[in-house]
């Protein structure tokens, strides 16, 4: 059964059709990559799934403990209730807060419940302190996994670029997501960092059992780790399937390289 089902998703901005009748599914414990040339509408699909845009038409169904219709939810509810987490193309950490604090903010809703509208927290009750200790333990485990434990108390904005990318993924994972949406996580990484990222994403899929939706330009990442690839061009889905099949699909090659006489399809 699919984790998320995107049906006839259309997004118009005035006269511009950014996403045109796109349907695909992503399965749990799989990495689904969305690829396509610049301006193909990949990030728009992401913004619709994560609630930042209200789609013009179409249905987005996420299957968790029940079915969530994402297009009907407020932007923060998609994270809070349907538990879809995301990262951004241009990193959006809380730069003035420490690395550890970034990971604790991600556990806000759980901690908020434990702090009993802040009242238990203000009184310093044991139940809240236990919840906070658990949150810190979870953050520490993630920091060790992304090799940032030594930098836990530094402001996140001071970290090098690659570390900020890893931290943003760890922050999204700290929300206990069902679906993790990564918008070009390998952008700006060197080959070694990119290989590390592959390992991290594979472990998120296999060890944490989280479904991953991935926008990526770096074909080495896409071909190596994704189970399923969706190709967009000019807002339309032009191909879908296993990485090998998509790579050899003539329409995909045409979209990326253009036709032989120079005219786009």
């Amino acid at each position: 059964m699919p984790l998320i089902e995107v049906e006839h998703l259309t997004m118009r901005f005035g006269g511009l059709v950014a996403v045109d009748d796109v349907s695909f599914t992503a399965r749990p414990r799989e990495i689904t990559a969305i690829i396509g040339p610049n301006g193909a509408g990949k990030t728009t699909v992401f913004n619709c799934i994560t609630g930042f845009y209200k789609p013009t038409a179409g249905r987005l169904t996420l299957r968790g403990d029940r079915e969530y219709l994402l297009e009907r939810m407020l932007d923060h509810e998609v994270g809070q209730k349907a538990r879809v987490a995301r990262t951004f193309q241009n990193i959006r950490l809380f730069p003035g807060m420490t690395v550890l604090e970034n990971l604790l903010v991600a556990q806000h809703n759980k901690l908020m419940r434990a702090s009993g509208m802040s009242i238990y927290g203000l009184l310093g009750l044991k139940s809240y302190r236990a919840a906070e200790a658990a949150a810190i333990d979870k953050a520490r485990a993630w920091l060790e996994r992304i090799r940032l434990a030594a930098d836990a108390d530094r402001p996140a904005g001071e970290l090098p670029y690659g570390a900020q990318r890893r931290l943003e993924i760890a922050r999204a994972m700290c929300t206990d997501p069902r679906l993790l949406c990564l918008d070009e996580p390998a952008a700006g990484l060197n080959p070694r960092e990119s290989a590390e990222l592959n390992d991290l994403l594979v472990s998120i899929r296999d060890a944490d059992g989280v479904g991953v939706l991935l926008i990526e330009h770096d074909m080495s990442v896409v071909m190596k780790i994704s189970n399923h690839v969706v190709v967009l061009d000019y807002g339309r889905k032009i191909a879908e399937g296993a990485p090998e099949a998509v790579r050899n699909d003539p329409s995909v090659i045409r979209a990326y390289l253009g036709t032989e006489d120079g005219a786009d399809a």
């Binding site: 994560t50 923060h76 994270g79 003035g96 604790l104 806000h108 802040s118 999204a172």
Partner: protein, 470 residues
Amino acid sequence: MDARLSQMIKDAALTALVAAALGVFIVGFRTIDVGKGGPTFDYQFVDLAVAVVTIFFGRLGLQLASVGLKWPAFALGTILGAIGAAPIELPSTFLHWFVLLAGILIILRTIWPWANEAMASARHSPRGVIYGAHAAKWFGAGLLVAAVALPFAPFADQKMMDLAVLILTYVMLGWGLNIVVGLAGLLDLGYVAFYAVGAYSYALLSTQHGLGFWSVLPLSGMMAAAFGLLLGFPVLRLRGDYLAIVTLGFGEIIRLVLLNWVDLSNGPAGIGSIPGPTLFGAVFAETAPAGKTTFAEMAGIPFSGSQRLIYLYYIILLLALVTNLFTHRIRRLPVGRAWEALREDETACKALGINPTNTKLTAFAVGAMFAGFAGSFFAAKQRFISPESFTFIESAIILAIVVMGGMGSQIGVVLAAVLLIGLPEWFRDLGAYRMVVFGLAMVLIMVFRPRGLIAHREPSVRLHPVRAGP
């Protein structure tokens, strides 16, 4: 070397010339009304000359310091400072201050880069971090002990205590606004409105319904918090400048309603004879009203006018400390971290499933609540309130305290309140010039500490605790 020196002298001469041109009309003449025959002029050219010469050497000193000629600059600063402090005949005390300040300024400017470097290197060494954490703790504790002991100090006369109460009121307001501006990053220019709501809540409930200070205090906090929510709803979508303008408008609306709704607030005439706070039912007065006892009778000590003032001082100290402890605690709670996260990046907050509406509203409500407490204290202290006390300039001063203290810094707010409220009062002797000193202090802070007096942000939680020892 010579070319540089002549360049500097030229520059200093130019500055002095500008000062002379500007000063000749401001300082050089003074019109005196002698009755018949129109005003005559009183010439103050000696004042002007001293000021211009000081400015010449002052500019020269700053130039020397900025090119790294430490010792000549230092010498010049010392000479100027000595002249200012020396018991020589100058036309006014202000000139003494002026020359002295110029000297101090040059010395500060000279040692600034060196001090800055030393501080920066200390901050980055592991020992420095430990030292810094301890210093902050001890400084705060020392300040608290001094504040508790102040009424018993030999120099604490009525004037001093009045000023201390005033400063503490602003410290409390600063700490309250710090929640909204410093933590949640919502620029609120109408904070005084909540102060007014608290003050009028107490004034009306006490004069019309006979309620006491301690029972109204939580009510006025709640009233102000309710108004905080009321303001919060319409401004949820606004950010930055737009938010500032709407909150400014809200502050004015509250003031205008108080001014014009005469049936409720008695309009511009204000509300008088507000009862002061009581201590276990005892009032602070020479003779008690029927059915009450005075504090002096209860304690069995002779009555003195300062008892009321000392009591007020301890109330505001307590209220301010409650505000501080609350903020200190809530910063470490999820809601406090969410405030800071919202300040840093609202979009990222939404992506993490944080409800920005609730988070902003709690910040507005909690900040307003403390203004409400402070407002009802203000009404009980003044015993008379009118819309005059809640003008925009109050909001501006409170905001200035928060910004100058360093957004989000608790100790910084104390320092800034002492500076901004205390300084103009201290320099009252300087008469019209005191605002000049005030302005100078503001400019200096903005030049040397553009991010506020204390710009350091202490993490709300650490994975690796800072420990003493090697």
